[in-house]
C-alpha cells in the first residue's frame, strides 16, 4: 500500500528502478488513485506525470491548457467539461464561455499523438474541429456531448482527415446543419469506425453515402441515426451491419406495408448481438413487433422520444427480461411501471420524462405509485430520474426502504413547491428518508415543498453525496448552511430560486475550495458578498452573471442574478463576455 513516511518512500525510490514503477503505475487507472500516487514523493510525482495517458478536466476554467500540457507531456486521451449543468435548461446566457479552441491549440503543439477528445457542454467551432482533424495523425475518438458552435462543415473535416477515426459521437449537440454531404467526406476505403452517433442532426444525410459507409466499416458496433432516416430503408443498413451492438433508428413511422414490415423484422432478427436500441421518433405502433425478436437480448432501451401509449409500451417492455436501462416517456403510466417491475428484474436505471411538461393538470396517469412499484420489484435499481405531478412522504419513505442501494435519485415534481399531496406537508421527511437509507447516494435532485429541515437531513446524512440540485426550496440561510457545513463529499452544488443569501455562503466560504463548483441563480446573494468572496479566496473564481448591466451601478446589497463560483489554479478568466464580472484580489471589478 502507498505509504507516506519519507524514509520508506526514499527507500522505494532507490530500490525500484523507474521502469518498474512506471509499469506498476500503468495498472493504476483511476484519476484519484493517480493523483494520490503523485503526492507520495518527488520522484513518484515525476514518474507518474510522464506516464499519465488520460486526463479528466471537470471544469475547463479550473486549469489552463498550458498547466495541463506542462505537467503531463504524454497524454493520449483528454476529457473536458465546460458550462455548468444548468446551461442545459437555458440558465446560462449565450456567449458565457467554454470555448474549446485554446485547448485544441495548446494540445496541437504538445500532444501530436493525442487519440481521444471528449467534450461536454463546450463551444466547439468549425476551426477547432478542423484543427483537431489536422493536428493528430492518430486521432481515434471524438465525443461531443451537449456541445454547440459547429456546423456540418466541421464534421466534414473530421470525416476527411481522421484516417484512424473509431468514434464520432455527437450526442445531443447543437449542430448548424448546413447539409448532409459531410458524410461523403469519409475516405472511400475501409474505415475503422466503431461508433457513429448522428442522432442530433436535423437534416437528411445522403442515404446512399450512409449505406456505403456502413458497408465499408466492418468494425461498426454502434450506429445511431437521426430522425430524417426513414423506416423503409432501415433494413438496408441493418443487413449490412449485423454485428451491431447498439442501434438507434430514425423516425419509426411509415405507411403500413407488409413488405416494409417483413424486411424490417428480418433485418432486426439478423442482428444477433444487439443489446441497445434508441431513436423511435414518431412511432407507429404497428411496426413495433418488428423488434420483438431482439427484446430478450436488450439491456438498454431508449424510448424517450416514442409517443406511444401505455399498452404498446407494456407489450414491448415486458419482453425485455434482461433490461438494465430504460428511458421512457410518462405515457408508460403507473400501469406500465407495474409491468416493468414484474418483468425486468435486472433493471438498474430508470428515467421517465414528461410528455407534456407545461400544463398543470396531468395528461397521463403517472403518479408516485409507479415509482414505488419499480422500487419494490427491481432489486438492482440504482439510478432514477422521474418527472411526475404528485408525490407523498409515504411514497418516498417506501422507495428509500425498498432501495437502499440507490446511487442517483432525481425527482422532479413538475409544479414548484408542491407539497405532499396526501397530507399537504412539506416533503422533508420523504427526502430525509432517502438520504438516511441510501447510504451510497452520490447524486440527488430535490423538488416539491421543502423547508430548511430537509437540508439538515441532507447535510448530516448525505455523506457520499457529490452532486446536489435544489430548486424553489428552503426558507432561509440555515438551509444552505446545513448543506455547506455537512456533505463531506460534495463536489457540485446547483441552486435556483431559493431564499439563500450571504450569511451561509460567507460562513462556509472555505468549503467552496473543496468543491468543483457552486451555481446559484435567482437567490439572494448580494454583490457585496460576492466581492468579499472573490477578494478573500483567491483560489476561487467568483463570477457574477448579470444581464442588467454592471453590478457597480446598483447598491452592493442588491442581489445578483446569477452566481457561479469554482475553484481554479488558472486565475481569473480572460474571455469573459460583457455580462460576466469577476472580482480579483484588489476587489476590482473585472469584466
Amino acid at each position: 500500500y502507498l505509504s507516506n513516511t519519507s524514509t520508506l518512500s526514499t527507500k522505494m525510490a532507490k530500490s525500484f528502478p523507474e521502469e518498474v514503477l512506471e509499469h506498476v503505475f500503468s495498472f493504476i487507472t483511476s484519476d484519484s488513485d493517480r493523483n494520490a500516487v503523485s503526492l507520495v514523493c518527488k520522484s513518484w510525482y515525476e514518474i507518474e506525470r510522464w506516464c499519465r495517458k488520460r486526463v479528466f478536466v471537470g471544469n475547463c476554467y479550473a486549469v489552463s491548457p498550458r498547466i495541463l500540457t506542462r505537467r503531463f507531456p504524454e497524454v493520449r486521451s483528454v476529457e473536458i467539461k465546460g458550462k455548468p449543468h444548468f446551461a442545459d435548461f437555458n440558465l446560462v446566457p449565450e456567449g458565457w464561455g467554454g470555448c474549446v479552441y485554446p485547448w485544441i491549440s495548446a494540445m496541437a503543439g504538445a500532444y501530436p499523438w493525442l487519440e481521444e477528445i471528449r467534450l461536454k457542454r463546450m463551444v466547439v467551432s468549425d476551426e477547432a474541429l478542423e484543427l483537431i482533424s489536422t493536428s493528430f495523425c492518430n486521432f481515434k475518438v471524438l465525443v461531443l456531448s451537449s456541445c454547440e458552435g459547429f456546423s456540418t462543415d466541421g464534421l466534414a473535416s473530421i470525416a476527411a482527415n481522421c484516417r484512424e477515426l473509431r468514434v464520432l459521437d455527437l450526442r445531443e449537440s447543437e449542430v448548424d446543419d448546413l447539409s448532409g454531404h459531410w458524410l461523403s467526406h469519409f475516405p472511400d476505403t475501409w474505415t475503422s469506425l466503431v461508433s457513429l452517433n448522428i442522432a442530433c442532426l436535423g437534416s437528411e444525410v445522403s442515404f446512399s453515402a450512409l449505406e456505403r459507409l456502413v458497408a465499408r466499416s466492418p468494425n461498426l458496433r454502434t450506429l445511431r441515426l437521426n430522425r430524417a432516416v426513414s423506416l423503409e430503408k432501415l433494413h438496408n443498413l441493418l443487413c449490412r451491419a449485423p454485428q451491431l451492438v447498439e442501434f438507434g433508428t430514425g423516425a419509426y413511422s411509415s405507411e403500413l406495408r407488409p413488405d416494409v414490415f417483413s424486411n424490417l423484422a428480418g433485418a432486426f432478427s439478423g442482428c444477433k448481438q444487439l443489446k441497445g436500441l434508441s431513436g423511435f421518433w414518431d412511432v407507429v405502433p404497428a411496426y413495433l413487433p418488428a423488434i420483438y425478436l431482439t427484446c430478450s437480448g436488450l439491456t438498454s432501451l431508449n424510448l424517450s422520444y416514442a409517443t406511444i401509449q401505455s399498452p404498446d409500451l407494456v407489450k414491448l417492455v415486458s419482453q425485455c427480461h434482461n433490461l438494465q436501462r430504460l428511458w421512457v416517456l410518462d405515457y408508460i403510466e403507473d400501469i406500465g411501471l407495474d409491468a416493468l417491475a414484474a418483468s425486468c428484474k435486472h433493471l438498474q436505471e430508470l428515467r421517465v420524462f414528461p410528455s407534456d411538461p407545461y400544463v398543470v393538470d396531468p395528461n397521463v396517469s403517472l403518479t408516485e405509485r409507479g415509482l414505488v412499484a419499480v422500487s419494490e420489484g427491481c432489486p438492482k435499481l440504482q439510478s432514477v430520474l422521474y418527472f411526475c405531478r404528485q408525490m407523498s412522504n409515504a411514497a418516498l419513505v417506501a422507495i428509500a426502504r425498498n432501495r437502499p442501494n440507490l446511487v442517483c435519485f432525481r425527482l422532479c415534481i413538475i409544479e414548484p413547491r408542491a407539497p405532499d399531496y396526501l397530507t399537504l406537508e412539506p416533503l422533508d421527511a420523504g427526502f430525509g428518508a432517502i438520504v438516511e437509507h441510501c447510504k451510497e447516494l452520490r447524486r440527488l435532485s430535490l423538488s416539491g415543498l421543502l423547508t430548511d429541515r430537509v437540508f439538515e437531513y441532507i447535510g448530516t446524512r448525505g455523506r457520499k453525496l457529490e452532486m446536489l440540485s435544489i430548486a424553489f426550496a428552503g426558507e432561509s440561510d440555515l438551509g444552505l448552511h446545513h448543506v455547506l457545513s455537512g456533505c463531506e463529499s460534495l463536489r457540485k452544488l446547483e441552486i435556483r430560486d431559493c431564499p439563500f443569501g450571504d450569511k451561509a455562503l460567507l460562513a462556509n466560504a472555505a468549503k467552496l475550495e473543496t468543491m468543483r463548483s457552486l451555481w446559484m441563480s435567482s437567490c439572494s446573494v448580494s454583490f457585496g458578498a460576492c466581492k468579499l468572496l472573490g477578494q478573500k479566496l483567491p483560489r476561487l473564481n467568483v463570477e457574477v452573471i448579470d444581464e442588467r448591466g454592471s453590478p457597480d451601478s446598483r447598491p452592493e446589497s442588491c442581489p445578483v442574478e446569477k452566481l457561479y463560483i469554482y475553484r481554479t489554479v488558472a486565475g481569473p478568466r480572460v474571455d469573459m463576455p460583457p455580462f460576466v464580472w469577476t472580482i480579483d484580489e484588489d476587489a476590482a471589478l473585472r469584466v
Binding site: F89, E148, G149, E174, Y305, Y358, C498, P577
Partner: protein
C-alpha cells in the same frame, strides 16, 4: 510549479490576511465581521429564524474541511487569448422560447421540441400561481408569470441577447432598450431598424402591425443598421 513534499497532507497556504481553515475561527466571529462590511440584506423570514441560526453557530465552531491541493500553483496567471470566435450558431427555428419560469421543468431543449407540435406560446408556458409560495419568504425570485423572453441579435455583434417583451408596450421603448442593451448610444435609435421573425418563420419589419399582433407572433428579433 512546485510540489510540496508532505509527510502529512499539505497545509493550506494562507490567503492574504484571511484564512478560514486555521486560527480555529468561529462562524459567529466571521458573521460579526461581515455584518459591518456589508449592508446585510436580511429578509424577514431569516429574521424570524435568526435565533435558531445563531444557536447553531454558537454551539461549536463550524467544522471546515481542509482543502487538499493537488498542485501548488504560483500566482502568475497564464494569459490565454480568447478564441477568435466564429459567429455564434443560432439555434434551429424550432427552438421554443420559454414563457413563465425559464428552465422549468428542467428538460433539455431536444425533448421540449417533442412536447407540442405547434409553437403556441401559451401552451408552452409554465406559470406559477399567485399566493403559492410555500415555506418562508416569497423571496420574489420567480419571474413574473407572463414574462416573455425572445432572442435578439444585432448586426455585427456576435453575442445574442434576450429581452423580456412583457416589459414593453410600444415599438419605441423596445427599440430604445435593445439599442442600449448592445451598448449603443440611445440617441442613435434612428440609425437602426428592427426586424422580427414571426411564427410562420418569415422575417418582417417591426412596426407594420399593431403591437398586440406583434407580441403574439414574434419569435425572435434582429436589429439591423439602417444603412439603406
Amino acid at each position: 510549479m512546485e510540489l510540496q513534499l508532505g509527510l502529512a497532507l499539505p497545509s493550506v497556504p494562507l490567503s492574504k490576511g484571511f484564512d478560514l481553515n486555521s486560527c480555529g475561527y468561529e462562524a459567529k466571529e466571521v458573521l460579526g465581521g461581515f455584518d459591518s462590511i456589508l449592508d446585510c440584506n436580511v429578509e424577514k423570514s431569516s429574521e424570524e429564524k435568526k435565533r435558531s441560526f445563531d444557536e447553531a453557530f454558537d454551539v461549536q465552531s463550524v467544522q471546515v474541511p481542509e482543502t487538499l491541493p493537488l498542485l501548488v500553483w504560483n500566482q502568475q496567471t497564464e494569459h490565454n487569448y480568447p478564441e477568435n470566435s466564429s459567429s455564434s450558431i443560432t439555434r434551429s427555428d424550432e427552438e421554443e422560447e420559454e414563457d413563465g419560469i425559464i428552465g422549468w421543468p428542467p428538460i433539455k431543449y431536444q425533448r421540449k421540441k417533442l412536447c407540442h407540435g405547434s409553437l403556441i406560446r401559451d401552451a408552452n408556458c409554465w406559470t406559477v400561481g399567485n399566493g403559492e409560495s410555500g415555506g418562508g419568504g416569497d423571496g420574489g425570485h420567480s419571474r413574473r408569470s407572463n414574462s416573455t423572453y425572445v432572442k435578439v441579435k444585432m448586426e455585427g455583434v456576435t453575442i445574442a441577447r434576450k429581452v423580456d417583451l412583457s416589459l414593453h408596450h410600444s415599438y419605441q421603448t423596445l427599440t430604445h432598450t435593445l439599442v442600449g442593451m448592445f451598448g449603443r448610444c440611445q440617441e442613435d435609435v434612428k440609425a437602426y431598424k428592427l426586424t422580427y421573425q414571426d411564427n410562420d418563420g418569415d422575417w418582417l419589419l417591426a412596426g407594420d402591425v399593431p403591437w398586440g399582433t406583434f407580441i403574439r407572433s414574434v419569435q425572435r428579433l434582429n436589429v439591423l443598421n439602417n444603412g439603406g
